[in-house]
Symmetry: C2
Subunit: 142 residues, 2 copies
């Protein structure tokens, strides 16, 4: 989670929303990515999507079986769907997101009967730091 | 929708699930893409995600305000989330997908209170052809 938090911090420095993700297999960190939707412009450029794509390219497989994803904020519907498609084994997220999250809020993607793969889910690790990064970012933009 | 169906047909020819999408602004087709998750391996490589990314790059904006998306199958949770993030004005999809769709089935992403942008939705255009392409593809793989 520390890699994900570091990536989030770097995102804020370049004017992107500070959310970071790390993709891990056993002891190996396969990829780390931050939110990047502005430069280059990409509506799908959330940290989770970017880290999944990087790891799939690295492993040469669209299925990341046995891999774990760490992310600093509860995934949205887009990212939860991608996590399911990628067959992620364990999902760790730091802060919950009542406004945009789709794991324990809203669309609750993994709880749908049609969801073909549901990761094990762990929450709260690094929550205070992840939340403070986001609050500080949006405070400074007001 | 014809461009989307043509892209779907090409996807099948290269062993990818035959789903295609086209992104349009007014009379201009900004981008056309097909499902491509195997080569290169990308768990997020659905036609919708690929066409949204291509159009955002072309227009230099992560928001595709005023643009319409045509796709041959009801979008999944990942793609519905991306469509909302991209602020697509109108979504046209050909066939419904009770197994994986998240517009009129399952997560019903656009019906959530937290969904920040909901496109106008039109269904059924090209439905027979889109469904037949998918049925034929999966029949030939059994």
């Amino acid at each position: 989670m520390q890699d994900a938090l570091d990536a989030a911090r770097q995102a804020a420095a370049s004017g992107e929303v500070p959310i970071g993700a790390a993709l891990v297999r056993g002891d190996e960190v396969l990829a780390v990515a931050a939110n990047r939707t502005r430069m280059p412009p990409d509506p799908t450029g959330h940290a989770e999507i970017r880290v999944l794509r990087a790891a799939a390219e690295k492993l040469g497989s669209e299925r990341l079986t046995g891999c774990d994803l760490y992310v600093t904020l509860e995934p949205c519907a887009m990212c939860a769907g991608a996590i399911s498609h990628a067959r992620i084994a364990r999902l760790y997220y730091a802060a919950s997101d009542p406004k945009g999250g789709a794991v324990e809020h809203g669309a609750r993607v993994f709880e749908q009967a049609q969801c073909l793969h549901r990761p094990e889910i762990y929450t709260g690790l690094g929550e205070a730091e992840a939340g403070e990064l986001l609050r500080e970012f949006f405070r400074s933009r007001r």
